[in-house]
């Protein structure tokens, strides 16, 4: 073992570069394996073939599919925020409501959405509303749980402070409990945003004429495997960007809520 420590600048550079280098190495390995064994494209396309396929598809077509998926995912995400946060607050206020609702929430959460999705499409038609509902079924539960946890974890001293001021309960909720729950809510949002994309794709797999999920499915069924992979990577990048946007939102608007370094 060497006692010599690398200087901190180098160390930071290595730490920042490591994941990228690893990623590039994986891609290179992939390319090599495909060429070395001359794997057919319909089994496993080489990365170069996937890049080719990506640029063969018109930009406007990509945007149409992207917009279809993004629209459903974001609407589902927003709707579940609008529903989950008030439900969590109401559940904090009333034990009766918690007892009544919680089992139902668990049942919804533990039913595989993939199994329910076709039934929802049959029931509500293959339009945006049914896709948004499918998305909501996935995103809603983690949001309720994380918000309710944050609200209930509010330290008793803060509640006592509020009570010692004889303040109305409404202000205890809005000025103490909800702000206190913000870091918890963001934990839920980070989970929910990736689930929202999954929900939108599941809905497209069941019935759709556009969207990235639909694009992947339809490319596969025509054995355009490199094109399916291109759609998959595009989807992964979009999902990652959405996840990052949630983090950025927290960093910009609620910097105090981030864990201390």
């Amino acid at each position: 073992m060497s006692l010599k420590q690398p200087d901190p600048k180098t160390r930071r550079l290595v730490l920042a570069a490591a994941p990228w280098l690893f990623f590039v190495a994986l891609i290179l390995l992939w390319e090599l394996v495909c060429r070395a064994f001359s794997l057919p494209e319909y089994v496993l396309p080489a990365p170069s073939a996937i890049v080719d396929a990506f640029f063969k598809v018109e930009f406007s077509r990509w945007m149409t599919h992207l917009w279809a998926t993004l629209r459903v995912a974001l609407m589902g995400f927003l709707v579940s925020i609008l529903v989950a946060v008030p439900i969590a607050i109401a559940m904090m206020r009333s034990e009766l409501l918690t007892r009544t609702l919680y089992p139902l929430l668990v049942v919804i959460q533990s039913t595989p959405v993939v199994a329910v999705a076709p039934l929802i499409i049959v029931l509500m038609g293959s339009d945006d509303p049914s896709r948004v509902l499918i998305t909501c079924l996935l995103t809603f539960f983690p949001l309720v749980v994380s918000t309710a946890t944050g609200i209930n974890e509010t330290p008793p001293e803060l509640i006592e402070l509020s009570r010692s001021l004889d303040a109305p309960t409404r202000r205890e909720t809005w000025q103490i409990r909800i702000p206190y729950a913000i870091p918890y809510i963001f934990t839920g949002l980070r989970v929910a945003i990736t689930l929202a994309i999954i929900g939108a794709v599941v809905a497209e797999f069941v019935a759709a004429e556009e969207g990235l999920g639909y694009f992947i499915q339809f490319s596969t069924s025509f054995f355009r495997i490199p094109q399916a992979f291109a759609g998959l990577f595009f989807l992964a990048v979009v999902s990652l960007l959405l996840f990052k946007s949630v983090q950025w939102t927290q960093q910009i608007f609620f910097p105090w809520s981030l864990p201390k370094k």
Binding site: P155, E157, E160, L161, S164, D166, A167, S257
Partner: protein, 262 residues
């Protein structure tokens, strides 16, 4: 906002006790406490952990109703949280999403939903008095533990309460910070006299700060002893080296460690 404080103002506890569990077979947390606190008196309470010191404080604040006896302030029975009481908790309990100034103003914002320009001025003056004016725009997590607790004290002073209840306010601080903040508290108290009930684990701290030290027994908590502290004011770090200081702390230790012999 100062209310109707007059010379007859005082806190009186007569036969006060509290049992958390309604079952009469369970022990009382506090029982049979009779106590008169003079206006602007600084009273410290010491006693073993779990002896009901905080229960006593909560009953005076109105956060907790005594199950026996009565607490009255200014001759009127206490039946709920009151305007003229400021509480400083063991932890600073600052709101991490508000800066120091807004934390100090929080009691007004929380109680009435707003505060005026004058209130902001007053918050500024209080912060200045506590030597915190340059930290007014900082967030709580940028402050040391001692400074956070100072903000907690300043916040308790915002509504200009007649009574300041302090529940082991310095117990989370290191020894040096603790001593310094104690002297700062005395300075604030001398400039704005208040009736103070100060709960602490530290015998030396109790003697150094208070006019009178109450010793509480183990559960069920009751008053064992009252000791008048006749050390001259203002008290400084020289007070600690006076023989009288050692004498008083020694006597208190005796009461606590060998209550039968005392």
């Amino acid at each position: 906002m100062t209310g109707t404080a007059t010379n007859r103002s005082f806190v009186r506890l007569s036969g006060v006790g509290h049992r958390y569990d309604p079952d009469p077979a369970t022990p009382m947390a506090v029982t049979g406490v009779d106590l008169d606190i003079q206006r602007h008196e600084f009273v410290a309470v010491v006693g073993p952990s779990g002896c009901g010191k905080s229960t006593l404080l909560r009953m005076i604040s109105g956060l907790l109703k005594p199950t026996e006896g009565e607490v009255s302030v200014f001759g009127r029975p206490v039946d709920g949280p009151r305007d003229d009481v400021g509480i400083v908790f063991q932890k600073p309990t600052l709101l991490p999403w508000l800066n120091v100034r807004k934390n100090v103003l929080f009691p007004l914002k929380h109680k009435y939903g707003r505060y005026s320009h004058d209130d902001e001025k007053r918050a500024g003056e209080l912060l200045e008095m506590a030597g915190l004016e340059s930290f007014a725009d900082k967030m709580p997590d940028e402050l040391s533990g001692g400074m956070q607790q100072r903000v907690g004290i300043v916040r308790a002073l915002l509504l200009n309460p007649d009574i300041l209840l302090m529940d082991e306010p310095f117990s989370a601080l290191d020894a040096m910070t603790r001593e310094q903040i104690g002297f700062d508290l005395l300075k604030i108290w001398e400039e704005n006299p208040k009736t103070v009930l100060f709960i602490t684990h530290s015998i030396a701290e109790a003697v150094l700060l208070a006019d009178r030290v109450l010793v509480m027994s183990k559960r069920p908590g009751t008053l064992l002893e009252m000791l008048d502290v006749d050390l001259p004011r203002p008290r400084t770090r020289h007070t600690i080296s006076e023989p009288r200081f050692a004498e008083l702390t020694e006597r208190l230790r005796k009461h606590i460690y060998e209550p039968e012999a005392a």
